[in-house]
Symmetry: D2
Subunit: 326 residues, 4 copies
C-alpha cells in the first residue's frame, strides 16, 4: 500500500503514527527531497484504507490488487472433506501410512488412526521419490485398499495424485486430493485436479513464498476445485540438523491474516520422530486447523520414511495432547 | 554415527531396523559393492551406542565427538538470572522497550511489564542498527534508567552489549548479558563477556546452524560465562511477507534433544505485531522456556521498531494466554 | 567416503594428509575415544579409492554408491540437438523470445538470433505462469511458428512442455524438450518426456540441490531420454535486489566434477537486463557449455518478461563477447 | 522508485513501456480500482528520473533516498592499498596463507605469491574459528612475520582484525584491514577500524543482502575509513555439496550498478580446491577487480583450511589464466 501525504504534512510525524499502528514504512521523495509518499513495506496487522485515511497528514491511499480473488473469497469457511471437515471447532487429525504397502498394513494403520481420533485417513498409492530406484507405490491396488480401510472406519480419505492421467482414478476414491510439494507449481496438474471439482490439499513447495502458494491455489480454484486446504510441510533450510524447516510463521499468516484453512505435516516438517509431537502442538498454537502424521504398525519394516513414522502408542499420545476427541 | 556390520550381516535388514528406530541411514560399501557400514545421517531420537549394538548385524559403533562439551554439561539446569530463573517450572516472560528512550518511557514500560507478570526487564541501551544514521541508544544513561526501573519492580535485567569496551559497564548493571544476533560469532565479544562470569543470552545469528550456535555458546562458556540461555529470533528466509523466519524446529531440537534452556523473541521473529501472540504460544508448545517481547507505552512515538511493539493491553492478554502468573 | 584406519595409525597425521589432498574430514571414534575412521565430508578434488589407500595409516576405504548411474554414464559426451550440439568445442548460444506471441514476432526474433550466431532457437508455446491470469502461451499455433522460424534459419528448436498430454505434440516439433524449473521434480512429466526418447533440457528447481537435480535427470534417462543437458537458471535467494540467485558454483561442479553438459540462463538468472552480459561471460568462465537468453524485437511490447529481454544490438554484442562465431 | 500517472494515462501502455526499459513494475490503484501509480519493484538498468519523466503517461517520479551516501560517493575510484591499488586496469591478485603458522611458512608462501604476480600478501594473525578449540592464530608475532614477508617482496599487506583491542596493533602493520564475514555487522569493530582512517576490506556476511553490506560499509566510512573494498566470499546456501554459495550476481551488481571496488575469495567461496580456478575466472568475468586466494607451501601440514589451499604450481597457473602480469 502507498500513502500519499498532504503538501504541508509533517512526514516524520505521519510515519511514526503509521509505525505505531504496526506498519513498516519507506519514504518516497520528489526531486527536491520533499517526502511526498510513504510506502507500507509490510503491514503488520491488516489495515483498512479508512484507518489509513484517518491518520493525520494522509491525503490518499493506493493499494495493489490481490492476485488471488478466489482464494480470498474462500476465507473463513471450513473445508468439507467427505463426512467431516477441516477448519471447524475441532482440530483435525489426519493419519495413516506414508505409503500403502499392502492391504494388511493399510488396514492395521487405519485402525490405529481411527482409534486415535483421526477422521481422515492418509496414505500414498503414488509416491514421488527423489530417486527413480526407490519404491514408488502400488498405484490402483493401493487406492482400493485405502478406500476400503477408510470405509471400514467411516473415515474420509486423502491421497496424492502425481500424473494428469491418474486424476480421474484418484478423484473416484479420494475425498480430498493431495498435490505434493514437488508439484505445487505443476500448473497442468493443478488445473486437471481442479477440473474434478473436488477439494484439494495443496502442500507448499520447498522454495515457495506464501504469495506463490496462494497463487497456486488460485490456479486450482480457477479450474474448478471446490476448496483448497493448505498444508505446510517444511521448506528448504540451510541447517543439516533437520531435513526441512517447518515455517509456522507462514501458518500463522495464512490463518490469522488470510483466513485460510491450514494443516501442518510435522513428520516431513522436521523429519525427526521425536520432534513430531512438540511441533504438532506448536502448529496448533500457531493457528493450524489440523495435523497430518504418518503412522505405521511396524516402522522397522516400512518401505518408505520409516524413520519418521509414529507407532500406535505415539499417535494416541499425540492425539490426546492436542485435544482430539476419539 | 557409524555402524559397522558383521561380515555376514543382512545389510538391508539391519538398515530397516535402524530406520524403524527413527534413524536415517546411508550405505557404505567396499570396492566389491559389499555393504560394510551404515552411516546414521540424522538420528531422529537420540540413540545410545548400547541400543545400536543391540541391533542384529551390528559389529561396532563409531561416533563423532561433541565439539561443545561445556554446553552439553549445562544441559537440564535452569539458568539463574538475578532473583529468578529461566527454564524452571514457570514459563519466563521477558518484556520491556526495544530501546530505552527516556527515563519516563523505561519506567512506564517496566510497570507494564511487571504488572503483566514479567520477572525480567529487557531494554536496549546500545542498539545495533543496520544504518549508521539510525538512533543507536542512550548508552550509560540508559543503563541507569533500566537498572532503576528493574529494581523498582524487583525484576532482573537483561540488556545487550555490543562493544568489548562496554562489557564491564554492562556487567555492572545487568543480570543477564545479551549478545545480539549480528554478534553471535563475534568471538572477541563472546570471550570478553564470558570473562565477566555472568550468564549470557545468546541470540541466534541469521545464518547460523544449530551447531554453529552451540559452538558460539561453547566459546562463551570456555571464557568463563556462568551459563548460556539461547534465544531464537528468526533466521534469514526467502519470503518477503515476513521480516524473519522463526525456526521453532530449532527450539524443539535445542530443548528436547540437547536439553538446553531456550527462549524465543517472537517480536523480531516475524516482525508483525499481530502474529506475536500466536507465535509466542507456538514457541511454548515447541518447548521454549520463555518468550521475550517488546512493549512500549506509546508505540506511535517509538524511536525504533514501533511496528512490532505490543501495547499494555496486548502484553497482558499474551501473558494470560501463555499461563504466566502475575 | 569413509577411510578406516590401521589400529596403530597416527590419526592426526593421516587426517592432515587427507586435508592436504583437498579433502574435508570428520573423525569417528570408538567407545574409548580411539579414532578408528575418518569420514570425507566433502571431497574437494574427486579422489580415487587407490589414492586414498596410498595414504599412510589407511586400512580400507568405503564409498557410497552413486544414485544416478545413467547420468554418470553420459559424462563427457556433447548433447546432440538436431543438426548441432551443446558441449562441443564451440560455445552454444540459444536465443529467442520468452514467449511466442505471434508469427511475426517469432520470425523477427529468430532472425536476430540466427544472425547473432545462435544455432538453437528458444521460445515458449506453453508458459508456466505463477498467476492463472497471466498470458500462458499460444500453444499448438506457437509450436508451428517456432518450427517454421527455426527451419528458415537451419536452427534447432528448444521449447518447454508442461503437460503430459502435450508431450507428443511438442516432441514432434522440438529438437530439445525443456522441462521447466517448477517441474524439475514432476516425475510423471519427466518420465513421459523421457519416453519420447529425445534429448531433454532440465532446468534446475529453485530449491534443488545438485544431487536432487542429478536424480531428476536419472528419472528422465531411466524412462528413455537420449541425453540430458542441465540448465542453471537461478535458485531461490534471500536478497530482494535480484529476482534469483545464479549459482555458478553448481555449474562448475556439474561440468568439472560430474562431466555433464550445462548451460546457463542469465536472463532469468538475475532478472536484470543490464547484468545479462557479465553473467553470461561469467557462466562460460565457470564452465558452462552455452547460454540461453531472451531476445525480443520490441521489448516494450512483450507479453511476458519484457524487462529481461535483450534487444538485437545487445544480443549481437553479447555473442561477440563470448566468442560465438556467426 | 514510484511513478505517478496522469489522470488520463493509459496505465497498461505506460507499464509496458517501463518494462521495455528493463523495469519490473507493480500497479497501485485507488479505491475505485483506477491505477494511479506504478511502483518500480526492481530497476533492471539504473534509470534516471529524467528518463522516467519522458515516458508517456508519467506525471511525476518519487524516489527513496540512498541510505549510504558515503559509499555512493566513493564509486568509480580504485582503492589505494600501500604502493598498489585494487580496481585499476590490472586485475589484483591477493595471495598468502590462510593462517600465519611460522615465520618460515609465511616467508615461503609470500615468495610463491610474489613470484606469481600477487601485489598484496594476505595471511591471518588472528583467526575467527567456529570452535573455541581450533587454532586461532599467533597474534602479534604473526603480524611481524607478515609485515617482514610483505616488505621483502615490496608487497602490500592485508590481514584481519577481530577485536577492538587489536585495531591499533593491526593498523600499524597492515595496508588494508580485513573485517571478516562473521563481523560484517559488528558495528563496534567497524567504527573502531574506521577511526584508524585506513582502507578496509569488508567481507560479506553469510546472510547479508547487498543493501546490508553497503550499509555496513557506510558505518566504516562514517567513522573515518579512507575507502572500503568489498569481498564476496560465499553466502549460506542450502546445498551441502559446497561449503558456501558464491554469489557472483552480487559482484556484478556491486561493480556494474553501484560502481564499487569488489574482489572475490573463491577459496572460501566454494571450499573446493579444484573449483578455485574456474570460479576465479568467473569472478573476473562477472566484474570483480581481483581475487584473494590461499596458498600454502605444504598444504598437507596446514593448521587451518588445508583442503582449500592452492599449491605453488596451482597459483602460478591461476595467475596466468586470469591475466596477472608478474
Amino acid at each position: 500500500m502507498l500513502v500519499n501525504l498532504h503538501a504541508d504534512a509533517d512526514a516524520a510525524h505521519t510515519e511514526r503514527s503509521l509505525r505505531g499502528l504496526g506498519l513498516w514504512t519507506q519514504r518516497l521523495a520528489d526531486d527536491e527531497g520533499h517526502i511526498r509518499s510513504l510506502r507500507i513495506v509490510a503491514p503488520s496487522p491488516p489495515i483498512s484504507v479508512d484507518a489509513l485515511n484517518a491518520v493525520p497528514g494522509v491525503l490518499s491511499v493506493l493499494s495493489t490488487q490481490s492476485g488471488h480473488p478466489l482464494v480470498d473469497a474462500q476465507a473463513g469457511r471450513p473445508v468439507v472433506v467427505g463426512n467431516t471437515q477441516i477448519g471447524g471447532e475441532q482440530p483435525a487429525l489426519i493419519a495413516g501410512p506414508c505409503s500403502a504397502e499392502s492391504a494388511e498394513q493399510v488396514f492395521a494403520a487405519a485402525e490405529i488412526a481411527a482409534t486415535s481420533g483421526a477422521k481422515i485417513l492418509r496414505g500414498g498409492a503414488y509416491k514421488p521419490r527423489t530417486s527413480p530406484y526407490s519404491f514408488s507405490g502400488h498405484g490402483p491396488d493401493a487406492l482400493g485398499w485405502l478406500r476400503e480401510a477408510a470405509d471400514r472406519h467411516h473415515m474420509a480419505l486423502v491421497t496424492e495424485v502425481m500424473s494428469e492421467y491418474d486424476v480421474e482414478r484418484v478423484a473416484d476414491v479420494a475425498d480430498l486430493i493431495q498435490i505434493g510439494s514437488r508439484n505445487m507449481q505443476n500448473f497442468a496438474l493443478l488445473r486437471a485436479v481442479g477440473a474434478s471439482r473436488q477439494p484439494i490439499m495443496l502442500k507448499r513447495g520447498r522454495a515457495a513464498t506464501v504469495e506463490d502458494w496462494l497463487l497456486a491455489a488460485e490456479h486450482a480454484l480457477d479450474a474448478g476445485a471446490s476448496q483448497v486446504v493448505f498444508c505446510e510441510r517444511g521448506i528448504r533450510g540451510f541447517d543439516p540438523s533437520m531435513r526441512n524447516l517447518l515455517d509456522l510463521g507462514a501458518v500463522a499468516l495464512l490463518k490469522h491474516v488470510h483466513g485460510q484453512t491450514v494443516i501442518v505435516d510435522p513428520s516431513h516438517g522436521c523429519g525427526r520422530r521425536d520432534l513430531v509431537s512438540p511441533m504438532a502442538k506448536a502448529a496448533y498454537a500457531a493457528g493450524a486447523d489440523g495435523v497430518m502424521v504418518e503412522v505405521h504398525p511396524h516402522p522397522e519394516t516400512a518401505l518408505s520414511d520409516g524413520a519418521q513414522a509414529l507407532t500406535a502408542d505415539e499417535l494416541r499420545h499425540l492425539a490426546k495432547q492436542i485435544g482430539v476427541s476419539v
